[in-house]
């Protein structure tokens, strides 16, 4: 065949600047890989700083993009594959910030554990891209690819501590279950595609605005919705799809855990909101009861299970499950108004929670990283004993972060919880709000346990005595930043709330 009778082909136009955050991170990742290969003698901590710089750059770029949107309004990118709105930008910012903070911690961690290579940083950046794609996708396929990018990166990172069998175990567990669940997710996509005739959010909404209710309540696409929720539920660590969480969080290298807990959750919930609220508003009455149930189960199971753990990393894993439950409460609230011009407070509160929780959890895990000492093994409650005596500053920071997680006022955690509860109450879902709050009290018990062992219990004579805790500079910086942010937002959250409201104000 000759090109003669072929009509001229023009690919979709690409507004490169709007993609700049992703491109920056991608470029940085490539550079790191090349450097790692070509200049192995490069001083290691530059990797971290480089990564952080990339994250910072994308953050800054995001603010410019934000202005563009506030001026020009939202738009669709590269063949309607991506949504370019404040929601996207907010998610991007959250993820980039997480990258920056985690990179700092990772540097010190890698050196302490004598693990090498820029690969981890590259994976951070690439996973971050995946997360951004998930949060901004306007097409189920794109969303799926983003999800796979992030997940596969996570599998590798989880298994990346070669000296710890636990690390590899967590890797394979995560991998198998991840693949398993993404198969379901994909099947869901197939079903939606079959009934909607497309995987593109805009087209889905259009076509179902047009079709008759009979088609809308067709079992096939409903099954698809269900399977999509399964896949997303797995990534958001929602009960009953949360089983991997504690094992993986405990086994994975601590900074990686914090990366999963922050970026992973942000991306997953971003995707969930995109899918449920933006793509499938027609089925909100069908999936809302499910979201309600899952949310309730998640807060309760997460909190209750956390209470009986003895390993701090596991505790925090379960607590992050219960936090996921809280965010799900926000999703539930959002689902009341899915597809309506007035979006209510559901989506903003969820976004706010995600940002605040990411910072919290990274800070918390940075302390765990320090306490876990060489070998990343000393993470049981006992190894926190007497921290208040030996390192009052760290203990104080940890206390603030834990109180924030418990949702004590004047910390960001309270603002987050309050926002979610407010959203739920606004939609008259009082029951779920009360369930969530009571569960958070149960969870509070676990934070108290950690605080007690830090402040009240006498230091044990064991590993703690043998190897002291080192406080590396950059980890300290991370801790300081997160604590500062926690308190700042706790005391003066107004600006942030406005920002999140803007995320849905323009559609």
């Amino acid at each position: 065949m000759i090109a003669a009778d072929v009509p001229s082909f023009a690919g979709p136009s690409v507004n490169w600047f709007t993609l700049s955050p992703m491109l920056v991170m991608l470029g940085a990742a490539m550079v790191l890989l090349v450097l790692g290969a070509l200049a192995p003698r490069w001083p290691r901590h530059l990797y971290a700083l480089f990564t952080a710089a990339a994250g910072l750059a994308s953050t800054i770029l995001c603010f410019f993009l934000w202005d563009d949107i506030t001026d020009g309004g939202p738009s669709l990118l590269v063949g309607n594959a991506l949504r370019f709105d404040v929601f996207t930008v907010f998610i991007t910012i959250t993820i980039s910030v997480a990258v920056v903070l985690v990179a700092f911690v990772t540097d010190d961690y890698l050196r302490r554990e004598d693990l090498d290579g820029p690969e981890v940083y590259a994976l951070y950046l690439l996973a971050a891209i995946g997360g951004v794609v998930m949060g901004s996708a306007n097409d189920l396929i794109v969303l799926f690819l983003g999800l796979e990018i992030m997940s596969i990166a996570f599998y590798v990172m989880a298994a990346s501590h070669r000296k710890r069998i636990e690390s590899q175990e967590s890797g394979i567990k995560y991998f198998i279950l991840g693949g398993f669940s993404s198969a379901f997710f994909l099947y869901g996509i197939a079903m939606v595609y079959g009934t909607a005739g497309s995987t593109n959010f805009s087209r889905i909404v259009e076509s179902f605005n047009a079709t008759v209710p009979a088609v809308r309540h067709d079992a096939f696409i409903l099954a698809g919705v269900g399977l999509l929720i399964v896949g997303l539920g797995f990534k958001t660590t929602a009960v009953p799809f949360h089983y991997w969480t504690p094992d993986v969080y405990e086994g994975a290298p601590t900074p990686v855990t914090s990366f999963m807990a922050s970026v992973g959750k942000v991306a997953a919930f971003g995707a969930m909101l995109r899918v449920l609220i933006f793509a499938l508003p027609h089925w909100r009455d069908d999936y809302r009861p499910i979201v309600w149930t899952i949310a309730a189960l998640t807060v309760v199971v997460g909190s209750v299970m956390a209470v009986v753990q003895t390993n701090v990393k596991r505790m925090l894993a379960f607590s992050s499950v219960s936090h996921a439950g809280f965010i799900l409460v926000g999703v539930e609230a959002a689902s009341h108004r899915a597809g309506q011009p007035d979006a209510g407070n559901g989506v903003p509160s969820a976004l706010l929670y995600l940002l605040l929780y990411s910072v919290l959890v990274i800070g918390t895990f940075s302390v765990v990283t320090m306490v876990s000492r060489t070998g990343d093994a000393a993470t049981d409650l006992a190894s926190f004993r007497g921290l208040g005596r030996s390192h009052p500053a760290i203990a104080m920071a940890m206390t603030v972060l834990l109180l924030a997680q418990a949702g004590v006022p004047l910390t960001s955690g309270f603002v987050a919880k309050f926002g979610v509860i407010q959203a739920a109450v606004e939609e008259h879902s009082y029951a779920i709000a009360i369930v969530a709050m009571v569960a958070s009290v149960i969870a509070a018990f676990l934070y108290l346990r950690i605080m007690v062992s830090m402040w009240v219990s006498e230091p044990e004579t064991g590993d703690a005595a043998r190897e002291g805790i080192r406080v590396p500079f950059w980890t300290g910086v991370t801790l300081l930043l997160s604590v500062g942010f926690t308190l700042l937002v706790g005391i003066y959250p107004g600006w942030l709330i406005d920002a999140t409201k803007a995320a849905v104000a323009v559609r």
């Binding site: 109180l403 004590v408 006022p409 004047l410 309270f414 309050f418 509860i421 407010q422 109450v425 606004e426 009082y430 709000a433 009360i434 709050m437 009571v438 958070s440 009290v441 509070a444 018990f445 108290l448 605080m451 007690v452 402040w455 009240v456 003066y492 959250p493 107004g494 709330i497 406005d498 409201k501």
Partner: protein, 504 residues
Amino acid sequence: MISFPILTMLVLVPTAGSVLVAVFSNRRPEWVKLIAVLTSVLTAGLSIWVLAAFDKSNPDFQFVSMHTWIKPWGISWHLGIDGISLFLVVLTGVMFPLVIAGTDPHHDHKRYLSWMLLLEAGLMGSFISLDLFLFFVFFEIVLVPMYFLIAGWGYEGRVYAATKFFLFTMVGSAIMLVGIVATAFIAKGDGPLTFDLIELAKADFAPSTGRWLFFAFAVAFAVKVPIFPLHTWLPDAHTQAPTGGSVILAGVMLKLGTYGLLRFGVFLFPEAARWSRSLWLTLAVIGIIYGAIAATMQKDLKRLVAYSSVAHLGFIVLGIFAMTSQSISGGVMQNINHGVSTGALFFLVGMIYDRRHTREIAELKGLQKVAPIFAGVFMVVMLSSIGVPGLNGFVGEYLVLIGSFLTARWWTVVAATGVILAALYLLWAYQRVFHGEPDEANAGFPELKLREAAVLLPLVGVIVFTGLYPKPMLDRIEPSVNRLIEHVSEKTSYVEPQPAGVTP
């Protein structure tokens, strides 16, 4: 109204002091102590100033300071004080210097003092905030320092007690938070969202809604008061807490509950409060009798005092829900009286513990012979706690009872028997501890020290003065109480009953 934001200062000064103490070098303990004492004294001075500048003819909120805080949620930094909160603020202001100067944590002074000051800030804030969100913030924040004070400086069972206290209270406030938000949104209608107490009080809730909301609030406060059967955190917390902690806990913190019931429960949801009054009255009476009986049987002196609090607070709840100007004024006053006398009692028990390192009543004997002055002070405080006329305890209790008699006769008749029981448990304990011939263990019991006397003197002074001349206090309390009752009457069909021959 004065331009100087004195109420804000009431919160900020202790906070600043707390931070200052926290960051101050650990190598100069005496300086740390000095800073702490000075800040608390300064706060006390401010509170006294408020008392002096308070316009008793004005029933509304005074010294109001109002700043937008979280605009998108319609939350503002709204402080104000009226007759109901005035004396609670003063009590807080006065108690803390005494505690900080008068009690001695045996280790980690720095952290102890820092927590103490933070606690003061929180308590002050909760008593003067007129924004539901703001109030909740303070109400919750108070738990943290108290938790650490108990868990860090308490006695053998401290961690259990502290955790119990924290979680117990948090369950209540968790439900209240939902209640607060719901209130705001339901009252909002089409208007802007606001958490402002005064705005919300204007709203009319459908009876069923109002009742749900009221209970959401009431649970939190019932835990704090505590009202039977939600009281079991109290004996543990009081007993295990260090002396200072117990004094604050009993003297000031419990009042958050009764104050909240009055300011947020009754004021926001008069209909629901009226509707459920018989429940509350019954619980209050049960609390009075039950607490007294339980107190009688305690073997631990501190625990005994703790249970006596349950009984005393029962009177306040009775007064609040009997809802006559006498009963409520009496209740508000009883807040203060109980704070002073029980606070003093905890001081004294603490002193006994410092000397003998036991709280077991059985271990103590014949102290009056070896330490007559100490015994005398104890006697006076005890008599005030029993409610002997001429001392402060009587006035509040009496007003509560005589006021409640008008609207809740039979409850009052039963409640009045609490007066007998109070005499029973306190006198019995006193006899076992102070009377008789001291055995050799107690023979060396030291007499009241000068510092201790200095701490107790103001309290005893208040006890006697208020008992003999309560008028100044009542003059400031009553207008606000009457305004509250008028509010209730506007919202409901309630008419405050007047005794025969008195034209309202």
